[in-house]
Amino acid sequence: MTSPTISVPATTESASGSPLLSIRNVAKNFGHNVVLRDISLDIAPGEFLSILGESGSGKTTLLRIIAGFETASSGELWMAGARIDHQPPYRRPVNTVFQNYALFPHLSVEENVGYGLRVARRPAAEIVQRVSEALDKVKMTAHAKKKPSKISGGQQQRVALARALVNRPQLLLLDEPLSALDANLRRQMQLELKSLQREVGIAFVFVTHDQEEAMVMSDRIALLRSGELEQVATPREIYSRPATAYVAQFLGQTNLLKGEVRSGLARCGALSWPVSLRDGPAIFSLRPEHLRLEGAEDLPFAVQIRGRVIHQAFHGPTESIRVQCGDGLVLLMRAPSGHVPNGEVSLEFSPADAIPVRESPERI
């Protein structure tokens, strides 16, 4: 195979110049079980890229292939002009932060952090210097002499990060590093991790199943579904211009309107609005926040729907309602708290907010 069989739609190539890591047509199967199909993806120097997907989507396998713990069944990995997929993990210029941190239990915090430098036989003075800098960076200097079992999960997380960063890799791989932390600590670590990444300027490949985490932290998100790349784009773009119905549903909530396009008019049940698309069946994604109460704002060419509120949920800053609109169409609407009606309602949306999405990624 010479060219990818999936075109990754609507990709913003943040990479100007040569990529740091180039994943070319990587596939992986365990026996008959296909885990990854034909993944091609470039990672730019200094980029924060999230690999997002449900469990079983192959995201961890992809990370393990980059790290060298698994070998791809086919395809190539290129890094800084050299092919690395035949190199053992210890020769690759990447480091990993493991899901459960994988700190060495018999070594102290500082011995853990200094491990990579010691096996690389760096001079003792340099090791001491770099370890103390790394511990300082993650605010763990006070715990340097402790064994990993004596520090908390969040602290272990920081040590794992310091242990990887101290080696100054060109690329850091993170396998759901925050999933073991509780919600508050997790949000705090998201911010710390992001600012640390900007500070050190190392490219991060961050595996997560949490779409919000991916959106908050990433420069780009690569969404994996059943071993295939569904879309690779910036968080804004992937949210506002989802390429497929799956992407639209996975990142945030959406209303999928299934219908058809005929002579410049989209029809979905009783609704219709003008579009500039070719004729044929079509799916549109309409975000709940793009549905408004009729007359609340001046929307030109608004599409109007009447319906009845059947469910209401309070989220704090916003509230959401489910509206039964006839023809079995149920729409989800989200509005600032206190602005949500009850009973019979009349909703509207701008045709520009109904984003056409594909059923599945386009194939060549």
């Binding site: 790290a67 060298g68 713990f69 053992p88 993990p89 210890y90 990447v94 480091n95 990993t96 493991f98 899901q99 459960n100 994988a102 700190l103 060495f104 239990p105 018999h106 491990y115 990579g116 096996v119 690389a120 064994k147 079992s149 242990r163 990887a164 080696n167």
Partner: protein, 282 residues
């Protein structure tokens, strides 16, 4: 939490067992070690330290003890050198054959000790399997005599018998090492040898200590292998105890030796447990 009756039911039988079958016999043995045998071959219940003095003064006893310890040390080392690589291979590289190979290591434990000791007698004897083979391939023209009835035969047999006991705790320790630690080590730039010496081996030390203790303690107290295969030069301390309690009819001296061995073994077990704790990280 539990009723009084329940607690009595679960605690009394084991405690009674320990008291009747362990504490009482040990107590009796301890008493015997201070008594003596009269010229009329009866045991006199007069308290003295004569037996312990005799132990220190007569080289035959402490030399035999030292030789037994030296045999036990060799068995320990050989079974570690055999057991560790085997356990390492099974734990890390055996793949699908792991369970089968594990069973094959365990099965010899179900075979009677005597059968295994006699098997070595058949192999090592002057008209045994090994000598026949050596002559067949013209390496020797006369039976090699020193194979059987020597400390060598004892060490060989005990190593064969106790290697599974060394293998098991090492294997358990290796199995408990989280595999992502090994990946983390490789990820941080360590090759396989570095990973072994810096991560795998230190984390398997509790298993090594337990295995070494098993091999040493069990070999030190062994009396069948030296009896069957040791000959005069392969006599071990337990054979001395057995003969003192038997033909020599000197229970007090036998008890004194037995008590010294008990003390030695208990302090070893204590030490080994302390070390294992020091090297275990959960």
């Amino acid at each position: 939490m539990f009723s009084r009756t329940y607690r009595m039911l679960v605690t009394v039988p084991p405690l009674a067992w320990v008291a009747v079958f362990l504490l009482v016999p040990y107590g009796l043995m301890f008493c015997y070690s201070f008594w003596s045998v009269s010229s009329l071959q009866t045991i006199v219940h007069s308290w003295n330290l004569k037996n312990y003095q005799e132990l220190l003064q007569k080289p035959v006893y402490w030399e035999t003890l030292l030789r037994s310890m030296w045999i036990a040390v060799r068995v320990m080392l050989f079974s570690l050198f055999l057991g560790y690589p085997l356990a390492y291979f099974l734990s890390f590289h055996a793949g699908k054959r792991k369970d089968l190979l594990y069973q094959m290591v365990i099965i010899p434990l179900w075979v009677s000790y005597l059968v295994r000791a006699y098997a070595w007698k058949t192999i090592l004897g002057s008209d045994g399997v090994l000598n026949a083979l050596l002559e067949r391939i013209h390496l020797t023209h006369h039976p090699v005599e020193f194979l059987l009835y020597s400390p060598f035969a004892v060490v060989l047999t005990l190593t064969h018998i106790y290697t599974p006991f060394t293998f098991l705790p090492i294997y358990a320790a290796l199995e408990h090492i989280p595999r992502n630690l090994i990946e983390a080590s490789h990820d941080l730039g360590a090759n396989s040898a570095q990973t072994f010496w810096k991560i795998i081996f230190p984390l398997s030390i509790p298993g090594v200590l337990a295995g070494a203790t098993f091999a040493f303690v069990l070999s030190l107290g062994d009396f069948l292998a030296p009896l069957l295969l040791g000959g005069p030069s392969g006599i071990m301390i337990s054979n001395v105890v057995v003969s003192l309690f038997g033909a020599a009819y000197n229970w007090p001296l036998g008890a004194a030796i037995a008590f010294c061995m008990l003390l030695l073994v208990v302090s070893l077990l204590f030490l080994s447990e302390r070390l294992e704790k020091k090297w275990s990280f959960s």
